[in-house]
């Protein structure tokens, strides 16, 4: 299974990549929403099975990325990560058909549960 991980923080990206690879996933990485969109364009869509994106990123935030994905790629599962546990944010994310919302900090096990739940 291929997961596209989007986060503007390289340390987070590396952390997530290692964790997910250990669990047997293929990981694609993007440092911004725009880079993620390019990733979609480059790769054959069949290659990406799930998107795991940070919410707060410069340029395009996670919810904007979700909107873009919904427009172009339909119901591809998306999990948003955030360090803000704001209820309004959760509601907005869910309204935009984001599949799941996970608040930092979380463990690999918790992330795995979410991935299994949405795929």
């Amino acid at each position: 299974m291929n997961i596209l991980v989007v986060d503007d923080d390289a340390l987070q990206l590396e952390t997530l990549r290692r964790g997910l690879k250990n669990k047997g996933y293929q990981v694609l990485e993007a440092l911004s929403g725009k880079e993620a969109v390019k990733c979609f364009a480059r790769s054959n869509m069949a290659k990406i099975d799930l998107v795991l994106s940070d919410y707060l990123m410069p340029g395009m935030n996670g919810i904007e990325l979700v909107k873009k994905i919904r427009q172009n790629y339909g119901s591809l599962p998306v999990i948003l990560m955030t360090a803000y546990g704001e209820k309004e944010l959760v509601i907005e994310a869910l309204r935009n058909r984001c599949d799941s919302f996970i608040e930092k900090p979380f463990t690999l096990d918790q992330l795995m549960q979410e991935i299994e739940r949405v795929t």
Binding site: Q12, A83, E114
Partner: protein
């Protein structure tokens, strides 16, 4: 000595005025060879009377003029008294020229405003032998144009005053205006602006810490997995080499230490996470949309804990009675807590007799629309109808200056309205007051609208219902 006839045009006939001729003033008459009318109080004219040989008619006319001046003066004094700020009229050497106005007499505590006339202001009003320190009066006189400055209250240092010194044709007018309320508002505004920027700063830091802490939280279990893979190999090695030591520890000791270190890291990371979450919660205080399902008992108890000591210092007994059957409500717990603290402290401050008490009672509403009723009662001074009508208005306060901003109950009212509830007051002077918060059972409506009743939003993870 020859007497000159009255020469004023309206005094054309002496005979016709005969009956009105003033009675002779014996004391002055013996000094001057003149018929001085009585009670004319023309002492200022005695010096000039001699050379001009004044006629009693002229003096009588002067009396009329004087009467008019006196009338004018009393009109002026009435206007002066009618101005609500303390006013003083001084001349160039600090001498008070005119009776203090009523506000100034109250301000300085002068029982008779007339008695200060002709005295130096610092002596008559402050009992000093020289001008007060830092008094800008002289510099204003020298410069010739007026000025305004702010100072701490002269009579009450807890207040703020704005003093205007304004030179006029008849002396220098000084106005003292109480600006305590405006100053407090300004301070409050600055304080809330500061808090708002502090809030932004803190939430930025909270975000950053949570992000970085995520690396720790996320990686520790992975590290533990790695070690679990590695440990059997080392176990094997240690078995074959009985005296295997690491960092001066026997291998079993080292092995235990390794996992306890990881456990410590994990624990610390959890603590960081809990602390910054609380901090984030704290700075979001006052934001709209912080409503959630809460146990009312917990919210009330938190509010009571915050102000219990304070209230107990003011009243003899402080009772809290929360019904056991209250259902959870959908509200902003922090706003509600703030309102309760406000009401409890107000109730405490109203105390005036020895057996004073404050009671808080929370119970289910009487009708199905009223979800919960929270009452804060006291047996303090109470309020009359006029005060009761204004009690929720902004900037209205009956507290002594410096103690109340007049915003507490206004804020309480606003917050409760934002929560879709209402706040009422019963009060009788001398008997006490009861403030009643009624939180409507609007919660069901809310759920219907949002269709989110099935969402469980745990603190850590938030998940869409399947």
């Amino acid at each position: 000595m020859k007497t000159v006839k009255p020469s004023m045009p309206h005094h054309s006939s002496q005979d016709s005025r005969q009956g009105e001729f003033p009675a002779r003033h014996s004391a002055l008459g013996s000094f001057f060879d003149l018929d001085f009318p009585r009670r004319n109080r023309v002492k200022g004219l005695t010096g000039i009377a001699k050379p001009f040989q004044l006629d009693p008619w002229i003096l009588k006319d002067h009396k009329d003029t004087e009467q008019r001046i006196r009338e004018n003066m009393s009109v002026l004094q009435a206007i002066f008294d009618g101005i609500p700020d303390p006013l003083l009229l001084l001349d160039g050497d600090f001498t008070v020229n005119m009776p203090l106005n009523t506000a100034a007499a109250d301000y300085y505590g002068v029982p008779n405003p007339q008695e200060v006339i002709g005295k130096r202001c610092y002596a008559a009003l402050r009992g000093r032998s020289e001008p007060c320190e830092g008094c800008p009066y002289l510099s204003v006189i020298i410069n010739g144009h007026g000025g305004t400055f702010e100072r701490k209250g002269l009579m009450d240092p807890d207040r703020f005053e704005e003093v205007t010194i304004f030179p006029t044709g008849i002396g220098v007018l000084i106005r003292i205006k109480d600006i305590t309320r405006a100053k407090l508002m300004e301070r409050q505004l600055i304080q809330s602006q500061k808090l708002a920027s502090l809030g932004l700063l803190v939430s930025g830091i909270v975000h950053e810490i949570k992000n970085l802490n995520n690396c720790v939280t996320f990686n520790i279990p992975i590290l533990r997995e790695y070690l679990k893979e590695l440990i059997p190999i080392i176990d094997d090695y240690a078995e074959r080499n009985g005296d295997f030591e690491l960092f001066g520890m026997s291998y079993p000791e080292f092995r235990g230490d390794l996992f306890s270190l990881l456990g410590n890291l994990e624990h610390a990371s959890d603590r960081i996470s809990a602390t910054v979450s609380d901090l984030g919660e704290f700075v979001r205080r006052g934001d709209k949309g912080r409503q959630r399902w809460v146990e009312l008992k917990e919210v009330i108890e938190r509010g009571v804990t915050v102000c219990r000591c304070h209230v107990q210092r003011m009243v003899k007994s402080f009772e809290v009675d929360i019904d056991g059957d209250l259902c959870p409500i959908f509200t902003d717990p922090q706003a509600l807590e703030q309102v309760l603290v406000n009401l409890l402290i107000n109730a405490g401050q109203a105390a005036e007799n020895e057996d004073s008490w404050v009671r808080l009672r929370a119970r289910r509403g009487d009708t199905c629309g009223d979800g919960v009723v929270i009452e804060v009662s006291d047996n303090g001074c109470g309020m009359d109808e006029e005060v009761r009508g204004k009690v929720f208005e902004p900037l209205f306060s009956t507290k002594e200056p410096g103690r109340g901003t007049g915003l507490g109950l206004f804020v309480a009212h606003t917050l409760i309205e934002e929560l879709g509830g209402r706040i009422e007051v019963d009060s009788e002077p001398g008997k006490g007051s009861t403030f009643r918060i009624i939180l409507n059972n609007a919660n069901h409506r809310r759920i219907k609208n949002q269709q989110f009743s099935a969402i469980k939003l745990p603190v850590r993870r938030q998940v869409l219902p399947q």
